[in-house]
């Protein structure tokens, strides 16, 4: 209750308004400047992202096509199965390479001389023999017939067809000499050479020959490793978060645990690889380079991420829900598992998916536990030797053959595709379950 004479204003309303108007221009200019900076930052980031994607896709898209050469192969019974008994053991070990070479000689009868013939045979991939073997073993009735088969071309031929070999260079400086190029041109005239979708890339395991190399082994290995990681990290992480958040009393020990968990989230991942090497492989004797030990190492690495995300999700459940449940006579465990956990689950799942996406791209710890080996077989279980996609990329990037350059980029595209899908799934889940109360 002030007396009317005493006022608490510093300025008269008009003077105040003048001051406000005078400052407005500066304020709006500052805001515009800030918005421009923000926009520029976003555009710069997008530019770098575009450069990255364009360079990878530009190098990698050609890997999705593979050159084939059509051969008429006479499946000579005398070569394969002289006794005519169709014994699988005999058929399995017969010399199919000879049949392939025969068909090539027949197509180019003017090629004589040993080194020239070797060059001719080198047009076709070494896998042609294995392809023929598979056909014969599948259906022995084709023995004695002539088959028109498309076999994969050698990787140098593939590179020529894709335009990566410069025809204008001197013959000795190219991977393919003039002879070979002449033969290839003749094949092209006869429509016996072409490109088709590279299914081998997706169905085959690793190989020293680029035209026979595929990512299937790495993808299956990644999948098995991630499965082990998820099975170990998710229950342990969620249970730890629930215990620390709902049951543990707040004292020195729990503070210490929380600090340690936060620190572990920042430890370089290669340290976990060293830990896995020292304890899981050397002490426990788990076979190296298996999805089992890879999953164990990645689980340890992902655990802090899941625990931190789960604790945040649990903290975000309003205390009124807990009070309501306790007030009706629910025990603490019933309150946590029947009320709090279902409401916190979306946040926990999001954190887990992000953790899994991180684990999918991890290379360093897995190199430590031996996944750097050259594995051709598709792993059948968690105790079979395996490799993972990022390690496969690392190994191919080291290989000298030209054809591996495009395959490395293609594998990177596949890996980025998986990561993008996983993160998109996390975003979709978060949106869908937001604010259900």
């Amino acid at each position: 209750m002030n007396s009317p004479g005493k006022t608490s204003l510093v300025f008269s309303p008009d003077a105040a308004m003048q001051k406000v108007r005078a400052g407005l221009g500066r304020r709006y200019r500052a805001e515009r400047r800030f918005r421009r900076f923000g926009l520029a930052a976003i555009l710069l980031g997008l530019l770098f992202l575009a450069l990255l994607l364009i360079s990878i896709v530009g190098k990698g898209y050609s890997a999705f096509q593979q050159t084939w050469i059509a051969l008429d192969i006479v499946i000579d019974e005398q070569q394969l199965d002289p006794t005519g008994q169709r014994d699988p053991a005999v058929l399995a070990t017969a010399n199919y390479g000879a049949l392939v070479k025969d068909s090539l000689r027949r197509m180019f009868p003017d090629v004589t001389g040993r080194s020239e013939k070797r060059q001719l045979y080198g047009l076709v991939s070494g896998g042609a023999a294995f392809q023929l073997r598979k056909l014969v073993l599948n259906d022995p009735r084709i023995i004695g017939t002539t088959q028109h088969i498309r076999v994969p071309a050698n990787d140098d031929v593939d590179m020529l067809m894709k335009g990566h070999i410069d025809r204008t260079l001197a013959s000795s400086r190219r991977r393919l000499g003039d002879d070979e190029i002449a033969w290839i041109d003749r094949l092209a005239d006869e429509n016996r050479i072409g490109k088709s979708f590279n299914t081998t890339f997706f169905t085959a395991g690793d190989s020293r020959e680029p035209e026979l190399a595929g990512i299937r082994g790495a993808v299956v290995g990644s999948f098995l490793t991630l499965a082990v990681t998820l099975l170990l990290a998710f229950p342990v992480g969620v249970a730890t978060a629930v215990y620390l958040e709902e049951y543990a009393s707040r004292n020195h020990w729990t503070d210490l645990i929380e600090v340690n968990i936060n620190n572990l989230a920042a430890v370089p991942s290669i340290v976990f690889g060293l830990l896995g090497l020292a304890i899981f492989i050397n002490f426990f004797g788990i076979p190296r380079s298996t999805p089992l030990v890879g999953g164990l190492v990645l689980a340890l690495m992902t655990l802090p991420t899941i625990i931190i995300a789960s604790r945040a999700a649990l903290k975000s459940v309003p205390p009124s829900i807990r009070e309501a449940a306790l007030g009706v006579g629910a025990s603490r465990t019933q309150t946590v598992f029947q009320h709090v956990l279902p409401l916190a689950m979306p946040g926990m799942l999001t954190g887990t998916i992000i953790g899994m996406a991180q684990a999918l791209g991890e290379t360093a710890p897995l190199l430590m536990i031996g996944m750097v080996a050259f594995i051709v077989d598709i792993p059948g279980g968690v105790t079979d030797p395996a490799t993972v996609l990022p390690v496969q990329i690392f190994l191919w990037a080291d290989s000298p053959e030209r054809a591996f350059v495009e395959r490395t980029s293609a594998a990177i595209m596949i890996l980025l595709g998986f990561l993008f899908l996983m993160n998109a799934l996390a975003v979709v889940l978060r949106r869908r379950f937001e604010r259900r109360w």
Binding site: R250, E323, A324, L326, V328, G329, A330
Partner: protein, 294 residues
């Protein structure tokens, strides 16, 4: 001061004014409030509290309060903000256990047992002493599930028909049945504020408690919803014992039979509602009721 004195003399009855000044500090207070004024005991108590002290860490929030909660009665706890009435009522069903730094001493007896005895199981206690909170907090589940949850976990219904019966009865008693009977599977959070609070009351009475504690149940509601809830409290009185904390003196006067006045953690005065509001015996009670502070 003089005008207030004159006002007091015109109110019928005897008035004992404990001190000469209207403004007093905390130290003077403890001198004059050595004992609660009025009858803390009742003939038929449901719960009895003796020498209850509550500490939040080093700070003492409730100082030596003794009070009986009468059976099939409504007792209202009034007092200025921060006087400890919510803290006290939360002791009665041990909801203060959820607060880490809170310590309770004293005896709170129900059916001859001290509810703070070391071996006491809190779960059946809370099934017998239910609670309705200030802000309506239905579970983010369907209306049916909200009311059924308590009955389910305490195993009160053996099969579906019994459960449906319990839910219908509770919703009818809470005055909500007609409004929601066609949409029992819709989320409880989709109801209006007043309906949500009545849902929470239905949830509390579905497990047939003996005492219902209400911590300012109408403070988040509009006047019409408030009136409905007050009507409801009056009807529930026949079956349940109710303790209600309220910052509205009009509500306390309308709804309760006994009233307890708290001030800075002490129980100053307790008595029948009519006596407290027309003839308060302690000066502090009278100051609060006449609106001098609070």
């Amino acid at each position: 001061m003089e005008s207030i004195m004159a006002e007091n003399e015109t109110i019928a009855g005897r008035i004992r004014i404990a001190g000469p000044d209207t403004k007093q500090t905390g130290e003077d207070l403890s001198q004059e409030i050595s004992e609660t004024v009025g009858e803390i005991t009742v003939s038929n108590p449901r719960m009895t509290c003796r020498n209850v002290n509550v500490y939040y860490g080093d700070k003492q929030a409730i100082m030596d309060v003794s009070l009986d909660i009468g059976k099939n009665q409504v007792i209202a706890m009034i007092g200025p903000s921060g006087c400890g009435k919510s803290t006290f009522i939360r002791c009665l069903n041990r909801m203060n256990d959820t607060i880490d730094s809170c310590r309770v001493s004293g005896d709170i007896m129900m059916d001859g047992e001290n509810i703070y005895a070391p071996g006491m199981d809190v779960v059946p206690l809370r099934a017998r002493v239910g609670m309705v909170f200030q802000k309506p907090n239905p579970f983010p589940k369907s209306i049916f599930e909200n009311v059924a949850y308590g009955a389910r976990i305490h195993g009160m219904a053996n099969h579906k028909d019994e459960l449906h019966g319990i839910i219908e009865t509770s919703l009818r008693k809470a005055g909500l049945w007609e409004e929601v009977k066609d949409r029992l599977d819709q989320p409880g959070t989709g109801l209006s504020g007043g309906q949500q609070q009545r849902l929470c009351i239905a949830r509390a009475i579905a497990i047939s408690p003996e005492v219902i504690l209400m911590d300012e149940p109408c403070s988040a509601l509009d006047p019409i919803a408030t009136a409905r809830v007050e009507e409801l409290i009056d009807e529930l009185r026949e079956r349940f014992t109710i303790a209600i904390v309220t910052h509205s003196m009009q509500q306390a006067a309308r709804v309760s039979q006994r009233t307890a006045y708290f001030h800075l953690g002490r129980l100053i005065e307790v008595g029948t509602t009519e006596q407290i509001f027309t003839n308060p015996r302690h000066r502090l009670t009278e100051d609060y009721i006449t609106g001098r502070f609070g």
